[in-house]
Structures are given as structure tokens and as C-alpha cells.
């Protein structure tokens, strides 16, 4: 995945959402920035109260941000009235709710036709046929003329997906769509989403279920109203969300030009580096011998941990790949050390990685005769 070069379908810029109630003010989103390009299958995860539903509401235009802007397909959706936004949403976004939310007085077929009626898309004569096609696609043609209450929960949710597809929107947003379903129904729903992504739809779903995040292309973790740096989350998955967020706050962002040196062999290493974008090469270089590339690392991977854990100077050079710049985040030595103290699991996992990498280096050295 390389989102930097794809125009973003959904852009959230410095989105802040505050709620006020009698207990005081509560900040649900704290300056969130998110870019979601076309045809992505994105999972939003987070603990209860982390702000994931609020984030989803910002994307769907269901709620207003206190500040910041939300652009969907280049349209600032909060410059519309609520009513205009409803129509816009009907045409551009299919929404799937946790509790299905089919209209109980309409059959599945009628439910599927309803958004077409509201948005006046497809001719009235085409609508029944299209609704039936969608129901067929989700395997509900036999149930089409039943009321929601007469079919199973899984069938209701697949009907809700058919309804979300009714106006052929480019984006489908689902809030815990499998939260009330058994595992078989959940699998079918996710499979259905994957097929839709293959057809070019962008799908954003909120979930608690880690098995689902494994099947999406991208995961956004939200904690205490902030999005955790995706690279941090990818690199340090065993950290708690709170610690990930802390690391996100501590890291420094840097961009290195193509071929630019990041760490030179023999130098002191002060940071733990995580690759956000682009690739780095790990090389052994010497004036006496030809340069040897030990390996390449991509987004979500990290380097610098060996020196920070074991001490000593750098055992190899790390530089940006020659064809493209690389974006990194760097966690200072002291913070890295604190992080490890606070997360023994991460320390253990990193130690294993360090052992593996050292072993890998040694064998490379032997091959190349460096030692």
C-alpha cells in the first residue's frame, strides 16, 4: 500500500469534537487528521469511549465537528445544511448499522428500494429490479418479500448492506456491522465487503473484533480522541493503545531524500526509527570493500533497536532507498527505554527481533567476509 500517491477520497483535517453536558466539557476528537483513498478497506478500532463512533459520525456527516473540516470526494460536507447533507449522504454513502436498522414496516425488498426513492436515483421502473439484484448479490432473493422481523439477524444485516448499496455509493460505512452476528454470519459479511472493495468501493468499518482488522487493508486506531500513528501501531502492536498514543506524541517525524543516509555504520544511534512511508536499505559499506545491501525495510518496520537495546555504535548503515524519499518517525533513546520498561511484552518481542536480526547480520557478514 502506498497511499501518498493516491488522491484521498476522504480527508479529515484537524477535526475537533467537543461535547458539553451537565458534567462539563468532554473532548471526543482532538485534532484528527485522516486520509482515506479510494478502494480502501479501513477498520477503525479503539476502546469504548475512545471516539471511534464520533470519528465515524464525522465521516458520514451524522454529527458536526466543533472545528476542522471533512472533505469527501472534494466536498466539504459541513458546508451543507443537515437536510442537503442527508440527500448527499444517501447518494454518496451507504451506512450499515450495528443493529441493522431496517424499517420494520417495509419488506427487505422495499427497504432496499427506499434510498433510491429518497435520492431519486434509477428510474422508478428500474428500482424494484435493482433492489432484487442487490438482494440476490447478498443471497437474500428468497427472503426479499419478508418483513425484517421474519428473517435472521445475519440476513437482516446482509439486507442492510444491500440497502447501503442501493444508490451505488462509492463509500460504505459500517458501525460494528458484525457486533450482533455469529461468527459464520460475520465471515460472510466481511467476505461481502471484500468483494465490494474489489469492485472499487471504499469501505470504512468500526469494529472491536481483531479478527476483522486482520482482513482489512488498513487499521486506524483511535485512543482518547486521537489517531495513533499507523506506523507506530504497526511497528509496536503489543503496546496498549494508551502507550501507542504516548509514543505517537513522542516521535519526531523526518523525511529523507532518496538515497539519503540515516545512520552511518559505527556512529552512535540515539533514536528508534519506524518507517512511515517509502523504503530504507541496510547496507555494509567500506572504502575497502564493495558495498553490501543486507536488506530493505518498508512502512511499519523499524531499525535502530539493536543499538538502543544492546548499546554500542551502529553495526550497519541505513539509508533511504534511491528511488523515493522515505518518511520516518524517530523515538528518542530515553523514551524508547521508558517504553520498554512500561511494556515488557514489547520488550520481549523486540528482543526476539533483535536476536533474529543480529543472527541475520552475522550470517551476512560471514558470507561477505566482513568479519
Amino acid at each position: 500500500m502506498n497511499s501518498a500517491y493516491t488522491p484521498s477520497l476522504i480527508q479529515l483535517r484537524q477535526v475537533v469534537k467537543r461535547f458539553k453536558n451537565s458534567a462539563g466539557e468532554f473532548v471526543a476528537l482532538r485534532g484528527v487528521n485522516v486520509d482515506i483513498p479510494t478502494s480502501e478497506f479501513v477498520a477503525i478500532v479503539g476502546k469504548s469511549g475512545s471516539g471511534k463512533s464520533t470519528l465515524l459520525n464525522m465521516i458520514t456527516g451524522i454529527d458536526h465537528p466543533t472545528s476542522g473540516e471533512v472533505l469527501v470526494n472534494g466536498v466539504n460536507i459541513y458546508q451543507m445544511t443537515e437536510s442537503q447533507r442527508a440527500l448527499w449522504r444517501g447518494c454518496n454513502m451507504g451506512i450499515v448499522f450495528q443493529f441493522f436498522q431496517l424499517m420494520p414496516m417495509l419488506t427487505l425488498h422495499e427497504n432496499t428500494m427506499l434510498p433510491m426513492d429518497y435520492c431519486n436515483v434509477f428510474s422508478p421502473a428500474e428500482r424494484p429490479e435493482r433492489a432484487m439484484e442487490l438482494l440476490k448479490m447478498v443471497g437474500l432473493e428468497q427472503q426479499a418479500h419478508k418483513l425484517p422481523a421474519a428473517v435472521s439477524s445475519g440476513q437482516q444485516q446482509t439486507a442492510a448492506i444491500a440497502r447501503a448499496m442501493a444508490t451505488d455509493p462509492p463509500i460504505i460505512v459500517a458501525d460494528e456491522p458484525t457486533g450482533n452476528l455469529d461468527s459464520r454470519s460475520s465471515d460472510e459479511i466481511i467476505e461481502l465487503f471484500n468483494r465490494l472493495v474489489e469492485q472499487g468501493k471504499t469501505i470504512i468499518l468500526v469494529t472491536h473484533d481483531p479478527s476483522i482488522t486482520k482482513r482489512t487493508l488498513r487499521t486506524l486506531i483511535i485512543s482518547d480522541g486521537e489517531i495513533i500513528d499507523e506506523a507506530v501501531a504497526q511497528a509496536l502492536p503489543l503496546l496498549s493503545h494508551a502507550k501507542m498514543l504516548k509514543v505517537t506524541h513522542l516521535v519526531k517525524r523526518m523525511e529523507i531524500s532518496p538515497g539519503g543516509m540515516i545512520i552511518r555504520k559505527g556512529q552512535n544511534v540515539d533514536n528508534f526509527f519506524i518507517i512511515v512511508r517509502g523504503q530504507v536499505e541496510i547496507v555494509l559499506e567500506s572504502s575497502k570493500r564493495p558495498e553490501v545491501t543486507l536488506g530493505q525495510l518498508g512502512p511499519g518496520e523499524f531499525f535502530g533497536e539493536i543499538e538502543l537495546i544492546h548499546g554500542g555504535d551502529s553495526i550497519a548503515s541505513v539509508r533511504a532507498a534511491p528511488d523515493a524519499p522515505v518518511e520516518l518517525v524517530a523515538l528518542p533513546h530515553k523514551d524508547f527505554a521508558e517504553m520498554l520498561v512500561g511494556s515488557p511484552l514489547t520488550e520481549e518481542a523486540l528482543s526476539r527481533i533483535v536476536q533474529a536480526r543480529l543472527a541475520q547480520n552475522r550470517s551476512a557478514d560471514r558470507r561477505t567476509g566482513w568479519w
Partner: protein, 795 residues
């Protein structure tokens, strides 16, 4: 410190203000109605009689040949006679100098300070006029814009004009009581009469009786003795009217009308009860999770029952606090309106204990009765059922016939299908709403139907008064002579000379059992189109033959053509054959028609008449008035003594106006029922929207705009409105029959014809659609303005 559960009751009252308002309004409208009507009923029942009695009404009121003090003195000494007084009644015309003429009955009294009967209540100025001064009864101010100190011109039958100063305004609660058609009155001293060119004599005798003056039989006995004495003095009695001292002549009518209003009020209470039941059902449904939680932490069913009963009583108490003073004020305002129309006085604003008690009962017991079942069911619900929210609107499959029928409707767009199917989702609520709106609408339509049938009565009455101008002279003139004089006036097309006289029906005991007004038109008169109920109309050659108005049946039930009545007419008693009975409204007067030829012969007035009917080429009231004035001045110019010239439609108009008052009362009640209906509909729509807030959020989420959501809600309201209109149209039939029967029996003493007024159906259709739209627009607007976040968070 208030215990938590009572704090919850308080917050239930306060937190959802719109719901509290709805329940309180539902209760208050019934409490208000019953307070207004019961209060008015009591006030009028007491004050009408008391006010009337305070004026010492004459128990016997006789129109007789002119008499003087000598006859009065001899009558005064009779057994059974408490007081006897004379009055001189003269029809004159009066005007503000330079203004338009209007008819006035001038009443001459010898000594105003000695009056003991038909007392005059001073209102303004001096209640005792000096010679050549006049005082006016307050009703005269409707036709004359005069004030104390102004001069008035009086035109006398001989054509002369005299000017007198108005020195006072009085109220006469007795003269003409109950007769909407009676002319306004003015009072002068007996000594003024010669100056006006009138004889200083009395022609009306007023008598109060000793003993029980509220016993009509006793009064009748005294009246018979008085009549005997008068006739022995060589004078004739033309007309006798008997009154009880403390019963206003219109009391029974007013009470009958108030009775109908009371019935309507009770209906409103019933309807408001159904509203309350509806709202409380919804409240309990909304509160099921609360009940579940309370039970979970140890609340017993009785405790929960007690909490909700207190809540209901609180609603009732608030409604009572609102409706008690407003209902009391409205009762007094209604009584005042009736009193001013009936010319009697109220004893002042007061709290009517009966109304107060009824209001308290209605405010507290009706909600309890209406809420008992929902509260009982709600408080007994199992914890699990309560917490899981079973019973909310969230997507239960239903297989009722209505749903099956609704699911067959495929040709409507989905948003319309939602409106249609939503209409029938809460059947009990729909049923109660429909009941309220249907009854309200049926009464509304019924009132219009009754109005039409009453108007039809008036139109029917018009068939007996086809003439455009009615002329009265103070003495008979030859018919040919008047005919020639009037026909010469441009635009006059036809003239007929009629005779009219009073007669008495003599019963087998030889006493007067009823008065009869006999009109004697030419038998081939074109100016009367009788509606015969039995028998035939007059025909040439008829002699002692009469056709009688249906009012005869109240004195002689079962009377039929061919029967004979003994009549005392012009001092002679004779048997007359009833040849037909015709339809005619007359509350306290029996009208009969006899042949002009025979009556003129009987009165020795062959070829003469003092009453003429004129037909002109146009028939509007304005034109008739103009022609009446033209004919009047023409004839006076020729030296004829015209005593009165009246437009034909004027009489009908006055009668119609008095009916309009009644219709307005009924319309007020109809509007009150409509108000209950609209509150019901608003409540239902509000509750429906409240329960479906989540669904509205879903609609919003999948693309419904504000207007589409509003349309969905409003169409549902309109469907309910249309169904209720259809049902109301059907139910209005029996209601019309019942209402028009009761009302026409009360007013006219005869049943009216069942008639339909399309206007009522149309107005109600328009009104119910507007009501439905208005009732749904607010919840619809609220629903449309909720953000989806609020909606989806709503549980």
C-alpha cells in the same frame, strides 16, 4: 428531603414538558367544558327565574277592549287578584330626527311610581318620565342609537309627528319575554296620550294573583273569573297569556339547550378520557425500562403502581388548577351571553359548587379510570420484559389482517408505504384517536346539518309570509280602495287584503284552553304556500272551517281533520271544523287560517281589511324595506292611517338571528370537540414520532431530506384525518337526527326534518385536514430537525 421515588415522579412531570402539557391539556379540556356547561346550567337555572321573579311578572296578561280605572278598581277587589294594572299599548314609528323610521311599541302607564307589576329596572337617567317625555327599554337601543337627553320623533297612526325627549333607559324583563319577534318598547305617561292624539285608555290588563302564583291551574282559574268580569262589562278579551311568577317563559327552552350542551360536555369528557388513556399508554411504554430497573433493585408492583397513580393525580391536579378558574369564567361569560339575549340579569360572578365538584371529579377520577389499566399492566410487567423494552416500536413482526392488507399495496412509493403502514402500527392508539376525531367531526357536521334543518324551518315559515311588504292600518279600509292606491305605486305587482283576529279555544268545561291567532287570507291567496301535514287547505265556500298549525297538537294531541273545536271569536262561541293541519313553527302561539270571505262577514267587514300583503317586483330585504317606506309615505300622503309597514323578510331575519345564537352555541361545542380531537391527533402524532425517532434517524441516514421526513409524518396524520372524516360523515347521521330532534322540540315544539348540509361535511373535511397537517407538522418538524446522532442515541 423527598424520597428518590417521589423525586422521580416530580422529574417525570417536569422533564418531559411537552408530554406533561399534552396530558394536562387532554384532561383540562374536558374539565373546562364540564365546568363551563355545568356552571352555566346552574347559574342560568337560578338566576333566570330569580331575575324574572324580581320584576314581578304579570300572571295574567290580557289584551282587551279599551278600559279605564273603573274596571281596574272592580278587578282589584276580586278574590284571587292581588294587583291589577292597566297599560295602553300603541304601535308607533320612531326615529332620530332626520334618521330612518323604526317600529316601536309605546306603553302608557298612569303612575310610574305606583307600578307593582312588570317592574321596570332603571339603567340610565330617570326611570319616571314626565308628561311628553319617553323612557326606552334597553332593547330599543339595538335599533336606535340614542342616549338619555336625545330627542326622538314619533309618527302616530294619523300621520302626525311628535317629538319627545328620552329621559331614561330601563330594563323590562317581562314584557315580550321569550318572544324574539316582539318590537322594542318605549314608555310614556297616560296623560301624554291625548297630546299624541291617542285615547288616554288602557288596552292591556296585567294581573298578579293571590295564593300560589306558580300554580298555573290556580292562575287559570283566576283568569277565567277575570275574563268573565271583563266580558260582563261589555268588553272583549282578545288574547290571554298566563305566566308563573318565577319561571321565565323561555326557561324550558334554555334548559333544554343547556341539556344538549351538557350532553356534549360529557362526550368531551369521555373523549378526553380516551386521549388520556392514549397518552398514559405511551408514557408507560416509554417508562418500561425505568420500571424494569426499579423492579430490579427491589421495587414492588404496588410501589410502582402508587408512583404512577400519584403521577396521574398530579396531571389531574394541574389540569384542575387551570380548568377550574377558566371554566368558571367561561360559565359566567356564557351565562351572561344567554342572559343578555333573554333580557334577564345575573346575580353576579360566583363559584358554583356543583360545577366545582364535577370538575374535581372529572379532573381526578377520569384520568385515574383512563390510566388504571395501563398503569396496572405496566407495574406488573416482568423485569426482563421491561428492561428488554418489549412493547416499543422497534420492529416487531406483526401478522394482523391490516398488515397483510398493507403488505399487498405495492404501487405506492416506499416513503408513502411507510406513512400508510405506520398509520396502522399502533392500533389501539389509532382507534382512540379515531374515536375522538370521529365523534368531534360527527358533532361538527351534525351541527351544520341541524342548522340547515332549522334554516329550512325558517324557509318553510317564509312560505306563509310570501309578501314583500305587510301593511297594517289602525282601522279597516275597503280592499278595492287600498288595492287601487297601492297598485298605482311603481314596482307593486299584487295586493291582498287579509284579516287577522284572536280567538280562544273553549274546552268542554267552558274555560279557555288555548289562544288561537286566526289569519284570514282570500282562499285563493297567492301569498301562502302551506305545507300540509294532514287534511287540506282552505277552499272557496268554506265557512266555519279552519286549518291549524301543528302546535295545536301540544294542547290537543291526536287532533285530526274533521274534528271540531269550539272557538270564541269576536265574542261568539261556535264550533269550527278543522279541515287541515299544516306545518308551522310557533312556540307558544297556535296559528290558524280561515276564509277571508267568512271572517269578514262574521266581523261585518265585508270587502274591508286593516291588514294588507303587497308583492313587489324584487324580493331582497333592502328592496322590501325601501318599498315599505315608499308605500307607507304614499298612503299617508293619501290620508290613510298606516300603523305599520314592514318588509316581509324582516320578521324572518329576526327569527333567523335568534336561531343563529343557538347555532353559535352548538358550534362552540363542536369546536371544543374538534379541539379535543386535534389535541388527540397532535398527541398521537407526537407519540408516534417520539417512538419512531430512531427510524427517522435511519431515514435521514439513508438520504431522506427534511421535507421527505415531514411528508412521511404528515401523510400519516392526513390518512388518520381522512379516515376520521369518513367515519364522522357516517356517524353524523344519527347525531344529526338526535340533535335536530331535541333542539326543534325544545324551540318549536315540533320535530324538524332531517336534512344534510354539504357545507358541514366540506368544512370539516378542510378543518380535519388542516388539523391533521398542523398536528403532524410540529412533531414532523422536530423529527426533521433532530440530528442523526441525537436520533441514534435516542432510546
Amino acid at each position: 428531603m423527598i424520597r428518590p421515588r417521589w423525586r422521580k415522579v416530580l422529574s417525570d412531570l417536569w422533564d418531559n414538558k411537552s408530554r406533561t402539557l399534552l396530558v394536562v391539556a387532554s384532561i383540562a379540556v374536558g374539565v373546562f367544558s364540564i365546568g363551563m356547561i355545568a356552571g352555566a346550567y346552574e347559574i342560568i337555572s337560578n338566576d333566570m327565574g330569580a331575575s324574572y321573579a324580581s320584576a314581578v311578572p304579570a300572571n295574567i296578561d290580557m289584551r282587551i277592549d279599551p278600559f279605564n280605572q273603573v274596571l281596574l278598581d272592580s278587578l282589584q277587589s276580586m278574590d284571587g287578584v292581588k294587583d291589577a294594572e292597566g297599560r295602553g299599548f300603541f304601535s308607533v314609528r320612531t326615529r332620530h330626527p332626520g334618521g330612518e323610521w323604526t317600529n316601536l311599541e309605546l306603553v302608557a302607564i298612569d303612575d310610574f311610581n305606583a307600578v307593582q307589576i312588570n317592574l321596570l329596572l332603571p339603567l340610565q337617567g330617570n326611570p319616571v318620565p314626565a308628561d311628553k317625555q319617553v323612557i326606552l327599554e334597553q332593547k330599543a337601543l339595538n335599533d336606535l342609537s340614542v342616549k338619555v337627553g336625545d330627542d326622538l320623533d314619533f309618527q302616530l297612526p294619523n300621520g302626525k309627528i311628535k317629538t319627545m325627549t328620552v329621559v331614561g333607559i330601563v330594563q323590562d324583563q317581562t314584557t315580550g319575554a321569550g318572544d324574539f319577534l316582539s318590537p322594542p318598547l318605549g314608555y310614556v305617561t297616560l296623560d301624554t296620550l291625548p297630546w299624541l292624539g291617542l285615547p288616554p285608555l288602557y288596552n292591556h290588563l296585567l294581573v298578579t294573583v293571590n295564593g300560589n302564583s306558580n300554580d298555573i291551574d290556580h292562575i287559570r282559574q283566576v283568569s277565567a273569573a277575570v275574563t268573565d268580569k271583563i266580558e260582563k262589562s261589555g268588553r272583549q278579551v282578545y288574547r290571554t297569556k298566563l305566566n308563573m311568577s318565577n319561571e321565565h317563559p323561555m326557561a324550558s327552552t334554555v334548559k333544554a339547550i343547556l341539556g344538549i350542551l351538557m350532553a356534549l360536555g360529557l362526550l368531551i369528557v369521555f373523549l378526553s378520557g380516551s386521549l388520556i388513556a392514549n397518552t398514559l399508554n405511551s408514557l408507560l411504554t416509554q417508562h418500561l425500562p425505568h420500571i424494569g430497573v426499579m423492579k430490579l433493585i427491589g421495587a414492588r408492583s404496588q410501589q410502582i403502581f402508587g408512583m404512577y397513580i400519584v403521577l396521574i393525580l398530579s396531571f389531574g391536579l394541574i389540569a384542575l388548577l387551570i380548568a377550574l378558574p377558566t371554566g368558571g369564567q367561561a360559565a359566567y361569560a356564557l351565562s351572561e351571553l344567554i342572559a343578555s339575549k333573554m333580557n334577564f340579569n345575573l346575580q353576579g360572578y360566583r363559584i358554583v359548587p356543583l360545577a366545582f365538584t364535577l370538575q374535581a371529579i372529572v379532573a381526578l377520577l377520569v384520568p385515574l379510570a383512563a390510566g388504571f389499566i395501563p398503569v396496572n399492566n405496566g407495574s406488573r410487567i416482568k423485569v426482563q420484559a421491561a428492561i428488554s423494552g418489549n412493547g416499543t416500536a422497534s420492529g416487531k413482526a406483526s401478522s394482523g389482517w391490516l398488515e397483510r392488507l398493507g403488505s399487498r399495496v405495492k404501487w405506492l412509493s416506499r416513503p408513502m408505504l411507510i406513512s400508510l403502514r405506520n398509520t396502522f402500527r399502533r392500533k389501539r392508539r389509532l382507534l382512540l384517536t379515531l374515536l375522538t376525531l370521529t365523534i368531534g367531526g360527527a358533532i361538527f357536521i351534525g351541527v351544520f346539518n341541524v342548522q340547515r334543518s332549522l334554516n329550512d324551518y325558517m324557509v318553510m315559515t317564509g312560505k306563509y309570509f310570501i309578501a314583500d311588504v305587510t301593511l297594517s292600518f289602525d282601522r279597516p279600509y275597503r280592499v278595492n280602495e287600498i288595492n287601487q292606491a297601492v297598485m298605482r305605486i311603481p314596482h307593486v305587482q299584487h295586493v291582498e287584503g287579509w284579516l287577522q283576529l284572536g280567538a280562544e279555544i273553549i274546552n268542554s268545561a267552558g274555560d279557555t284552553s288555548a289562544n288561537l291567532s286566526i289569519l284570514a287570507p282570500p282562499v285563493d291567496s297567492k301569498l301562502i304556500e302551506p305545507i300540509m301535514l294532514q287534511g287540506r287547505w282552505l277552499k272557496p265556500g268554506d265557512t266555519t272551517a279552519i286549518t291549524v298549525g301543528e302546535a295545536i297538537w301540544s294542547d290537543y294531541p291526536g287532533l285530526k281533520p274533521g274534528d271540531q273545536l269550539k272557538l270564541k271569536l269576536n265574542g261568539q262561541e261556535d264550533y269550527w271544523t278543522v279541515v287541515g293541519i299544516f306545518r308551522f313553527i310557533s312556540r307558544d302561539q297556535i296559528i290558524a287560517y280561515a276564509s277571508y270571505d267568512y271572517i269578514s262577514q262574521l266581523l261585518s267587514l265585508t270587502g274591508q281589511s286593516s291588514s294588507y300583503r303587497v308583492v313587489t317586483d324584487q324580493h331582497s330585504l333592502e328592496y322590501q324595506k325601501q318599498m315599505a317606506a315608499t308605500i307607507d309615505s304614499n298612503l299617508r300622503g293619501l290620508g290613510y292611517h298606516v300603523s305599520e309597514s314592514q318588509a316581509g323578510l324582516a320578521t324572518l331575519q329576526i327569527a333567523s338571528e335568534s336561531l343563529a345564537i343557538l347555532i353559535n352555541f352548538l358550534l362552540i361545542m363542536a369546536l371544543l370537540t374538534a379541539t379535543v380531537g386535534s389535541i388527540g391527533l397532535t398527541g398521537t402524532m407526537g407519540m408516534n414520532v417520539m417512538e419512531r425517532t430512531r427510524e427517522i434517524g435511519i431515514m435521514r441516514a439513508i438520504g431522506a431530506t427534511d421535507s421527505q421526513i415531514m411528508k412521511t409524518v404528515m401523510v400519516e396524520g392526513l390518512i388518520i384525518g381522512m379516515i376520521s372524516w369518513f367515519l364522522a360523515a357516517i356517524v353524523s347521521f344519527p347525531i344529526t337526527i338526535l340533535l335536530s330532534r331535541i333542539i326543534s322540540m325544545a324551540i318549536f315544539n315540533s320535530p324538524s326534518k332531517f336534512m344534510l348540509n354539504p357545507l358541514g361535511f366540506l368544512i370539516w373535511l378542510g378543518l380535519v385536514l388542516v388539523l391533521a397537517a398542523v398536528a403532524s407538522v410540529l412533531p414532523a418538524r422536530n423529527a426533521a430537525h433532530l440530528t442523526i446522532r441525537e436520533v441514534l442515541a435516542y432510546e
